[in-house]
C-alpha cells in the first residue's frame, strides 16, 4: 500500500462498500460518525448491508431508513438527548423488513476486541440471566445465516463454558465481530494513513483492525511527518488504513471533538419527521439526493456551521443552544 497514494474521493470510498458488505463504523452514538460517506452510500443505492457495530446511532438510522440494510447487529440505537430511539429501525423491525441481532454493549466491545486481536472468541461474564442470551432470540440463526456460507458470520451466537483455569464459574463466549469494511470519521490522518483522534477514541482502534478494509474519512489530511513527530498521540498506525478521504464537516450532524459539536436541531428534526417511510423519503430528498457534500454544507449555511464550531480551547461549542436556556 505504501507505494501508492491512499487518497480517494468520497464517491470512490462509497464504491468500495459493495452490496452485501459487512460494515462497521467509528464513533459512539452521536459522536464521530462518517455521515458524509453514509449519505453517499444512500445516493449510490447500496443494498443488503450487514451493519455490525459496538453501538449504533444516526448514521445507521439513515442507512436503515433508506433501505440499504439487511442485517443490524448491535446493542443500541437512538439519538441520545435528541431522539429517544431509532424510529427507522423500529419501523423496519415491526414490518419485518430487517434482521436484528442483539448483544449487550460490553459483549459487542469485547467481540470487536477479539476480532482486532485475531481471537476467534472471548470470554466474559455480563448480562447473564437476560433475554439477550435467550436461545430463541438468535435472529441470524432463525434466518438460516449461521450455516457457514459466509465465513465472517459465526456459526453460533453464543457458547458457554466453565472456567477451566481458575474454577471461577460459568463464562459466556462471544464470537469475534468480523467485518469487511470499517469506515472511520476522525480529526486527522496522515498521507500514509496514520490516524490521530482527538478526545475519547471509543472503539476505533478495535473496529479498524476487525475489518479487512479500513477507510478513514478525516477532517484534515495532514503531512505524515507532523504526526510522526509525536507518535504517542496517534491512535492507529498507517499500515492498518487502506484509503483516506479528506472531508471537512464529514461527521455532521454528529459531533467531532475539537472541531464541531452535535447538531441537535438537525437530529431532533430527523427523529421527529422520519417516523414514517414517507417522512424519511422526504427528508432524504431534501438533504441527500441531488446534493454532494459541498452542496450539503452550502445548504446548512455558514452561520449554522459557525455555531457548531468547537472552541479551540474547550473542544466543544459554546454557541449552541442545548437546553431550554
Amino acid at each position: 500500500m505504501s507505494d501508492r497514494s491512499k487518497r480517494i474521493t468520497l464517491k470512490e470510498a462509497a464504491e468500495i462498500v459493495k452490496d452485501g458488505t459487512i460494515l462497521t463504523f467509528s464513533g459512539f452514538t452521536i459522536w464521530r460518525r462518517p455521515m458524509a460517506l453514509v449519505y453517499e452510500l444512500i445516493r449510490q443505492k447500496r443494498k443488503d448491508l450487514h451493519l455490525i457495530e459496538v453501538n449504533s446511532g444516526p448514521h445507521s438510522e439513515f442507512l436503515i431508513g433508506a433501505g440499504c440494510v439487511k442485517i443490524w447487529e448491535s446493542c443500541w440505537i437512538g439519538h441520545e438527548l435528541y431522539g429517544k430511539y431509532g424510529a427507522n429501525l423500529a419501523r423496519k423491525v415491526k414490518e419485518k423488513e430487517i434482521i436484528y441481532e442483539d448483544y449487550s454493549h460490553a459483549e459487542m466491545g469485547f467481540r470487536f476486541l477479539a476480532a482486532a486481536s485475531g481471537m476467534p472468541f472471548i470470554a466474559c461474564q455480563t448480562s447473564l440471566g437476560t433475554d439477550i442470551h435467550n436461545p430463541e432470540y438468535d435472529m441470524m440463526g432463525r434466518a438460516g445465516l449461521r450455516n457457514g456460507s459466509n465465513p465472517k458470520i459465526p456459526k453460533k451466537k453464543y457458547e458457554w463454558t466453565e472456567d477451566m483455569f481458575f474454577g471461577e464459574g460459568r463464562q459466556t463466549l462471544v464470537p469475534a465481530a468480523k467485518a469487511d469494511v470499517a469506515v472511520l470519521a476522525v480529526q486527522q490522518v496522515g498521507e500514509e494513513g496514520t490516524v490521530r483522534i482527538g478526545g475519547q477514541y471509543f472503539t476505533d482502534p478495535e473496529v479498524c483492525r476487525a475489518a479487512d478494509i479500513t477507510i478513514v474519512v478525516a477532517e484534515e489530511i495532514v503531512p505524515e511527518e507532523k504526526l510522526r513527530h509525536q507518535a504517542q498521540l496517534n491512535n492507529i498506525p498507517g499500515f492498518q488504513v487502506d484509503y483516506i478521504v479528506e472531508c471537512p464537516y464529514g461527521a455532521h450532524p454528529t459531533g467531532m471533538f475539537g472541531y464541531y459539536d452535535v447538531d441537535g436541531d438537525y437530529l431532533r428534526n430527523f427523529y421527529a419527521t422520519t417516523r414514517t417511510q414517507e417522512g424519511f423519503d422526504a427528508f432524504a430528498k431534501e438533504w441527500i439526493h441531488g446534493l454532494d457534500h459541498d452542496a450539503y454544507l452550502t445548504k446548512l449555511g455558514i452561520p449554522r456551521l459557525l455555531t457548531l464550531q468547537a472552541s479551540r480551547a474547550l473542544n466543544f461549542s459554546t454557541r449552541i443552544k442545548r437546553g431550554a436556556k
Binding site: 440505537i77 454493549h105 460490553a106 459483549e107 469485547f110 448480562s127 475539537g258 474547550l314 437546553g323
Partner: protein, 274 residues
C-alpha cells in the same frame, strides 16, 4: 430561609426531588458509572456536596471526570474536562468487569417485582409492538457493579408483573436454555457482585428484600400515599416497610442543580414562577 432548609412545595419540581434522591444513593469515595441525563446531574450533585471524592466513569471511555460543563451524553467532549484519563469503551467495560465499579445509574422502560428491567422492546421480541433503543450498557453496568439504581417514569404499565424482555438482570433471572427462573446469586456464581439496590420512580423510592429479592416501597414522594403507589404496580407491591416521605431538596441542592450543573436547562427545567 437558609441554604440548608428543605424547599417548600412550589419551589422545586418532581425531577429535582428525584435527582436529589438519586444523589443520596452515592457514597463518598465510590466509583460510579454514569449514564446520560438525570443520573449525570445526580452524580455531579453528589460530587459537589457529600461525595467530593467519588470517581465518575463514562461508558464511552472517560475516567474520574470532573466536568465543568454538563455533558449531554457520555461521548461528549465535555466529559473529558478534568478527567484522569480519556480512552475508549473496551477499557471502560474491562475496568467494570474487573470489579472496580461500586454503583451504576440506569434507566428503563419496564421493571418487574424482582428488578428485571426492559429497554429493548414492547411486546413479543419476535413480533414487536415497538422496538426501543436496545440494551446499551444497561445489563453490563448492572452485571459488573456492586449496586445499581434505576430511575424511571412510574406508570402501571411500566411496573409490570412480567417485563416484555429482560434486558437487564434483577434478583430473579432466567437460566438458559430452559428459561426457568433462578436467583441471580446462584446464576452468577463467581461473577456475582450485587444487583439492583433501588428504583427511583416519579412516585417513590423502592428497594429490594435482602432474602427474596422482591421490591418494597421505601419512601413515597410528596402528594402520594403508599396505597396509591401500590395501585400503580401490576404486581403486589410490599408496602409494609415504608420509612416515610422522600426527603425534599434543600435550597442549596436546588441552587447547585440549576445554577451550577444545569443552568442551560438541558435535563432539568426550572420551576416556572408566575
Amino acid at each position: 430561609m437558609s441554604e440548608k432548609d428543605f424547599a417548600k412545595a412550589g419551589d422545586f419540581t418532581l425531577a429535582d426531588l428525584m435527582t436529589v434522591a438519586a444523589a443520596r444513593e452515592v457514597n463518598d469515595h465510590e466509583v460510579v458509572f454514569a449514564g446520560t441525563g438525570m443520573p449525570m446531574v445526580a452524580i455531579m450533585l453528589a460530587q459537589k456536596t457529600h461525595a467530593p471524592n467519588l470517581k465518575l466513569i463514562f461508558e464511552a471511555g472517560t475516567f474520574d471526570g470532573r466536568p465543568d460543563v454538563l455533558p449531554t451524553s457520555v461521548g461528549d467532549p465535555r466529559c473529558e474536562d478534568g478527567a484522569s484519563r480519556a480512552s475508549g469503551l473496551v477499557e471502560a467495560f474491562s475496568i467494570a468487569q474487573r470489579g472496580y465499579v461500586d454503583l451504576g445509574f440506569l434507566g428503563g422502560a419496564e421493571v418487574d417485582e424482582y428488578g428485571n428491567v426492559n429497554t429493548t422492546v414492547i411486546g413479543d421480541y419476535l413480533n414487536p409492538d415497538l422496538r426501543l433503543t436496545g440494551s446499551g450498557g444497561n445489563p453490563d453496568i448492572n452485571s459488573f457493579a456492586k449496586r445499581t439504581v434505576f430511575i424511571m417514569v412510574h406508570e402501571p404499565r411500566r411496573f409490570t408483573k412480567n417485563v416484555s424482555y429482560i434486558t437487564s438482570p434483577g434478583w430473579r433471572v432466567k437460566k438458559w436454555p430452559s428459561g426457568e427462573f433462578i436467583s441471580r446469586k446462584e446464576l452468577y456464581g463467581g461473577a456475582y457482585r450485587g444487583g439492583p439496590s433501588a428504583v427511583i420512580s416519579t412516585a417513590g423510592v423502592f428497594r429490594f428484600n435482602e432474602d427474596t429479592g422482591r421490591m418494597y416501597l421505601d419512601t413515597y414522594h410528596p402528594g402520594k400515599t403508599p396505597e396509591e403507589i401500590k395501585g400503580m404496580c401490576q404486581f403486589d407491591l410490599d408496602i409494609s416497610r415504608v420509612s416515610g416521605e422522600t426527603p425534599l431538596p434543600t435550597y442549596d441542592q436546588l441552587r447547585i442543580i440549576h445554577e451550577v450543573l444545569d443552568p442551560e436547562e438541558i435535563f432539568l427545567p426550572k420551576v416556572k414562577k408566575a
